[in-house]
């Protein structure tokens, strides 16, 4: 059995660590690129959303390298993501890969806990290690995911304050390259903690007042840099500080807390006025984050969604009202197979120019009292200490 998994930002790193911990052979999908998308969209239905095409591309690449089992997650609607696995199976079968087994970890109550356990057993039974080792592998994978998310968050946010433009981006590229070299989850964790310390040593100027942007929108396209045309890295290059709430770590936490209705209470509360009912996907989160960002005193937000994404289209319809109520500017970026970047760069730069000049004029004259705003760089000061913290996952 040769396992593989789709690539979505840092998730692949965690999945890789899981396989390493379980001592199961795996194929690491390549970082998403034009070829991945080209291949995926060739076989995918015409009107399906972008994540489906990229993931299909991942699978095809890895199957060619010999993978025969695909780890995947599922959901039960109402957004299209829940139907991905069914369609992936049918397409792979049509392409003659009927032998490839897709293991769907579907956490929805409709599937039932027994079916889930059964599916997970299909993988874990193949692992030669003991029960305790297995638990440790899962824990390590989660810690790696959390560390990666944390490092990215620091990098994106710190980029606005760094003295030498490009330091944070270089560190980020460096650690991502090093993960692929490491053989053991424990080794990876130590290395990542080291990078937390390195970020703490980056020369920053906290008196700088960069443009602060919230990245909101559909989870796959905000997390996967290739899908959103590397928008966060572009913001780093332009000296802006960006932050986003949706990360794979958040996703897992949200999933665990959902049954007891304790998932992201702040986001839900903020969204209630504009979107009282859930619309599937992360439409409600998008609205909640926009409101929170406005209240926190961020300068603007960028919404990213794949073409045809149903929940995000609803959010897009609601965002103008938030803009009006909070004088909070935002920009919507709809991504699809087009990889031309000139238009995006122009819009992004103009958006930053606009936010910068509004800022210079003494803010947007927001009516609302700002809730407590994180002092500039408090995150940065913390990160050196955090390097040695043990429990990173559930902050």
């Amino acid at each position: 059995m040769l396992v593989t998994f789709p690539n979505m930002g840092n998730v692949a790193f965690a999945a890789r660590a899981l396989c390493q911990g379980l001592k199961i052979p795996y194929v690491m999908p390549e970082k998403n690129n034009k070829d991945t998308l080209r291949r995926g969209s060739f076989y995918a239905p015409e009107e399906i959303c972008l994540p489906f095409k990229v993931m299909l591309g991942n699978f095809l690449e890895c199957i060619e390298k010999g993978a025969d089992t695909i780890l995947f997650v599922g959901s039960c609607g109402p957004c299209r993501f829940g139907e991905y696995c069914e369609l992936h199976m049918k397409i792979l079968r049509r392409l003659g890969y009927g032998n490839v087994n897709i293991v769907v970890a579907d956490f929805s109550p409709e599937i039932g806990i027994d079916a889930l356990r059964h599916r997970i057993a299909a993988i874990s039974d193949k692992s030669p290690v003991g029960k305790l080792e297995k638990l440790k592998a899962v824990k390590n994978a989660m810690i790696i995911e959390a560390l990666c998310d944390r490092l990215d968050r620091i990098a994106y946010e710190m980029a606005g304050y760094e003295v030498n433009r490009g330091t944070c981006k270089r560190l980020m590229y460096e650690y991502k390259a090093k993960i692929l070299e490491s053989k053991e989850p424990d080794e990876t964790i130590a290395m990542l903690r080291g990078y937390l310390r390195k970020f703490g040593e980056v020369k920053t100027d906290l008196s700088l007042d960069p443009v602060k942007i919230a990245i909101i929108g559909e989870i796959y396209t905000v997390i996967d840099p290739f899908s959103n045309l590397y928008i966060e890295e572009k913001l780093m290059d332009l000296g802006a500080s960006s932050s986003r709430m949706l990360t794979p770590t958040w996703w897992v936490k949200d999933l665990v807390m959902k049954p007891v209705k304790l998932n992201s209470p702040n986001i839900n509360r903020a969204a209630r006025k504009y979107m009282p009912f859930p619309v599937g996907g992360h439409g409600k989160e998008c609205i909640g984050e926009a409101v929170l960002a406005a209240k926190k005193g961020m300068d603007g937000a960028i919404q990213i969604l794949p073409l045809g994404c149903m929940p995000e289209v609803i959010s897009k319809a609601i965002l103008p009202s938030i803009r009006r109520d909070y004088s909070f500017p935002f920009m919507t970026l709809i991504v699809d197979e087009v990889t031309g970047e000139a238009g995006i760069n122009t819009r992004l730069e103009a958006f930053l120019d606009m936010l910068g000049s509004i800022k210079k004029r003494g803010g947007s004259g927001r009516k609302h009292n700002l809730t407590k705003m994180e002092p500039a760089g408090s995150l940065l000061r913390r990160c050196a200490n955090e390097a040695d913290r043990k429990e990173l996952f559930f902050e």
């Binding site: 009107e47 109402p78 009912f277 929940p311 609601i318």
Partner: protein, 304 residues
């Protein structure tokens, strides 16, 4: 009080219930006219670009009702069967409408969670609160509305045509002759009878859907998939036309699932949006009908 009912989306399926209920509790009702060019234009003007055609049309219907009624009934369909979903756009429809159309009257936007009797009674009580709080009136009106709705059996099953095609797709595409450019009439004129999904028995749909790895969680998708596969298997019709709206998320999945199962059976997807040119549309219908008829004669010869 005058209640406006937009003639879009699931109106085609549930208008009997809505109209009867509102009338029985003492309201006057006014429905928007069947879709026309100006309604479509208004809808396109107010609705987000990325939404599908039926949503845009619905915006147009709501916009038309402004100034002609005291409240507009826009039920928020969260789900119509337990443990299943409906398209996400339905869940957020109220927000889309209320954020984009100015000068709206009161919106009666009580959510619908399931179409079973108990849940609907809760809905009825809540939706009626603007008009009457009298329990008995509501109960009586509800019973009558349910009865009428149950008597109402939409669906087309033409007999006596040389060939027959099954028309699968959203009711708001199939029964809106403006959006689908008189599809049923056009098919009839080509000598093709039409069969709609309502004539496929519910159990049969359930059986077909069970073959899938994962049961589709959209109630509508479940129906369309099951109906299409069943019709193909039992040859209830000679071919299937799937009427799909451009950028409809559900259709993009369902048509693909049907295609995967479909080998030889004539199957065509007609995509609708506000720009669909009638000339090209007619050509495709023509060609499809020729194909059906030719296959039929060839097949008949082969058998005999």
């Amino acid at each position: 009080m005058i209640i406006g009912i937009p003639q879009g989306l699931l109106y085609a399926k549930y208008h009997v219930f809505a109209t009867t209920f509102m009338k029985e509790i003492g309201a006057k009702t006014v429905a928007s006219p069947t879709t026309n060019k100006s309604i479509l234009d208004e809808g396109v003007r107010y609705c987000v670009d990325e939404a599908c055609l039926p949503m845009k049309v619905y915006h147009g219907h709501v916009a038309w009702l402004r100034g002609k009624c005291d409240a507009v009934l826009i039920p928020r369909f969260m789900s119509i069967r337990p443990k299943e979903h409906i398209c996400p756009m339905f869940c957020g429809l109220i927000e889309m409408v209320s954020n984009h159309i100015p000068d709206l009257p009161l919106l009666i936007d009580t959510p619908v969670y399931s179409l079973n009797r108990d849940r609907m009674l809760i809905w009825a009580k809540y939706a009626a609160r603007f008009l009457t709080k009298d329990q008995k009136t509501v109960d009586a009106a509800f019973d009558k509305a349910i009865m009428r709705q149950n008597d109402y059996k939409p669906g087309i099953n033409d007999e006596g045509f040389p060939a027959k095609v099954a028309l699968i797709g959203h009711v708001y595409n199939i029964y809106d002759s403006f959006i689908n450019m008189n599809l049923v009439k056009k098919l009839n004129a080509l000598g093709i009878g039409v069969l709609t999904g309502e004539y496929v028995p519910g159990d049969a749909i359930e059986d077909e859907v069970r073959q899938l790895y994962k049961k589709p969680f959209w109630s509508l998708a479940r129906e369309y998939y099951g109906a299409a596969v069943y019709i193909r298997k039992t040859k209830m019709a000679d071919g299937i036309i799937y009427l799909s709206s451009f950028s409809c998320g559900i259709d993009s999945i369902i048509t693909e699932l049907i295609k995967c199962e479909n080998d030889e059976f004539p199957f065509m997807v007609l995509k609708l949006d506000e720009h669909t040119g009638e000339a090209g549309y007619d050509t495709r219908l023509d060609a499809f009908s020729d194909m059906l008829k030719r296959r039929k004669t060839k097949f008949a010869r082969y058998v005999s």
